[in-house]
């Protein structure tokens, strides 16, 4: 619930943020300023985010985001896991983009290893899963964002489709959310029998569902009035503050890592990058809708052109051997024992690998000192970068618009705090 405190009480309420020195002394006879403590459990903040707002009437004078409530020390914990074990930790960074996190970590470590070739089938499956993940993330974003602004029904439609995607994830990996499906050297499991029918059924029906959301929202005058012309921030500020992803594309920059620095055979797919120039909450919504349509195109291409062959790299020292081989071949058994007990060694060096997650640039800076455990894994997460622009989006605007602006940034607090 919102906590309303007057200016005089505010210092006690905000001591953790230590705002005392920042608050302007109120001159007697002028408008009294108010400090509004939004979160950490406000219904409209996506996750445990605390924002301390200083208000003059309805206008936000200053906004101070206070993060760290979900910090779980993932980067530290990566250092005591073996290279392959750390994949499960990358899942937990962002609950809506776990496959993107798996992918960027796997790509970074594979780049460090150097002489490992990922077969085309594994690459295409990775692309397909990452795009399904993007749909999943955008659906959750659209549903909750519309819910925050007051359009409730979209939420139910979005979660209907999201359920289908989670079932597909479960079919592939056995897990709905923490899939750990993309591993160093390929995939965790062979794509299950009959996946083409399930994915095909979903993806053929999906574009019409996007039309449905678009119609629901664009015919809603409240939605249009609350999103158009709201949350405009100059592009230079956004870039300078480290914002990436759909927010930048809604400001007119055609920058998508999938196109500019293609990874995992994205260059073999035909898709466009939706951009807008209005740079408001509505433009961000249109960009994400466009991305959903493009993701559907990519998934369809992956479904139709999926290469045959191996789904794991031919690297016996890194990839676990087949069960059958272990029963018949001595070397396979030895490799299995070595990989499970000690892990594999990775060449010393460092890699900065970036991919396009649903929220923007996600980059892992992985440092190896030649042992079987990562020396350092730094996660440049898009939510952390984007959230830094929050004050720029809120200050000088109306309080009622803050929820629309907040929602349009699409951050996940687990992704921010790691």
């Amino acid at each position: 619930m919102r906590e309303l405190t007057t200016h005089t009480d505010s210092i006690a309420a905000t001591d953790a943020v230590d705002l005392e020195h920042r608050l302007v002394e109120t001159v007697p006879g002028t408008t009294r300023r108010m400090t509004l403590n939004m979160g950490p459990q406000h219904p409209s903040t996506p996750g445990v985010l605390r924002i301390v707002l200083e208000l003059d009437g309805e206008t936000i004078l200053s906004a101070f985001p206070d993060i760290g409530f979900l910090h779980t020390g993932i980067e530290k914990e990566c250092e005591v896991k073996t290279w392959q074990q750390a994949v499960t930790l990358t899942d937990r960074v962002d609950y809506l983009a776990n496959l993107s996190n798996n992918l960027v970590y796997a790509l970074a470590v594979e780049k460090l290893i150097g002489d490992i070739e990922i077969p085309p089938k594994a690459q295409w499956t990775r692309v397909m899963m990452a795009e399904l993940q993007r749909l999943n993330s955008h659906l959750v974003w659209l549903g909750t964002h519309a819910l925050d602004i007051g359009a409730m029904s979209v939420f139910f439609y979005c979660f209907r489709e999201r359920e289908d995607i989670l079932r597909i994830f479960e079919m592939f990996s056995g897990q709905r959310m923490m899939t750990s499906y993309i591993r160093i050297g390929g995939l965790a499991l062979e794509p299950p029998r009959g996946w083409q029918q399930v994915v095909g059924k979903f993806i053929n029906a999906f574009p019409s569902k996007v039309d449905e959301y678009e119609e629901l929202l664009d015919s809603n005058p409240i939605w249009m009035r609350r999103t158009q012309g709201v949350g405009i921030t100059p592009l230079e500020d956004l870039l300078d503050l480290g914002v990436t992803g759909p927010m930048i594309r809604a400001a007119g920059v055609k920058w998508d890592i999938r196109k500019d620095e293609p990874y995992s055979s994205y260059d073999q797919f035909d898709f466009d990058i939706p951009t807008r120039t209005e740079n408001d909450v509505y433009a961000r919504y249109r960009v994400r809708l466009g991305e959903m349509r493009q993701s559907a195109r990519i998934i369809k291409q992956a479904l139709e052109g999926m290469p045959e062959g191996a789904w794991q790299a031919d690297a016996p020292k890194i990839v676990l051997p087949e069960r059958e081989k272990m029963k018949t071949q001595m070397e396979a058994l030895i490799y299995h024992f070595k990989i499970v007990t000690e892990g594999f060694r990775v060449t010393a060096g460092e890699v900065y690998q970036a991919v396009e997650s649903p929220r923007g640039e996600i980059a892992y800076y992985v440092v190896s000192n030649g042992t079987s455990r990562p020396y350092r894994v730094f996660m440049r997460t898009p939510s952390f970068g984007n959230l830094q622009a929050l004050p720029a989006l809120l200050e000088g605007r109306l309080l009622a618009d803050s929820i629309a602006s907040l929602g349009s940034m699409d951050f996940v607090l687990g992704d921010t705090d790691r």
Binding site: H71, G73, L239, G242, Y365, F384, G385
Partner: protein
Amino acid sequence: MLPDVLKETAAAVDIDSRFPEAITGGHTERGEPTLFIAPAFIVEVCRFLKTEQRFVRLSSVTAVDWLPSEPRFEVAYNLHSLDRNERLRLKCWVSEAECEIDSVTGVWRAANWYEREVFDMFGIRFRNHPDLRRILMPTDWEGHPLRKDYPVHGYKYTYQNE
């Protein structure tokens, strides 16, 4: 002194001609150019890269603890240019005794939270930073968790077998 492998990286050559004493080394591994910059020059080099080399984005700032070697910390700046579609990594060595480096917040505002995170996790202080406080850990936390001598389970709680 610019190593030969970096002579093909345009930005590195330009830095070298403008600030001849700034570059202390570098390498291009796995297609990623890395420059070691003398800490005294970091702000000037960054400003030059942003304004004249169009590295408009600071992707991230982070650090690596190389205990027990000295200088102990390596601060890494990952830059990205949208126009040139290029990435560049700058690195500075920071010794444990000094544990301080100039802040680049004045160049990219994005550095603010990243430098706060490095301060929080490694204890490296940034001079002229507008708001150097802990960001992820609680304000009263003791120690800097990502240092190599910090135990994974922390100092406060130790687990013993019964």
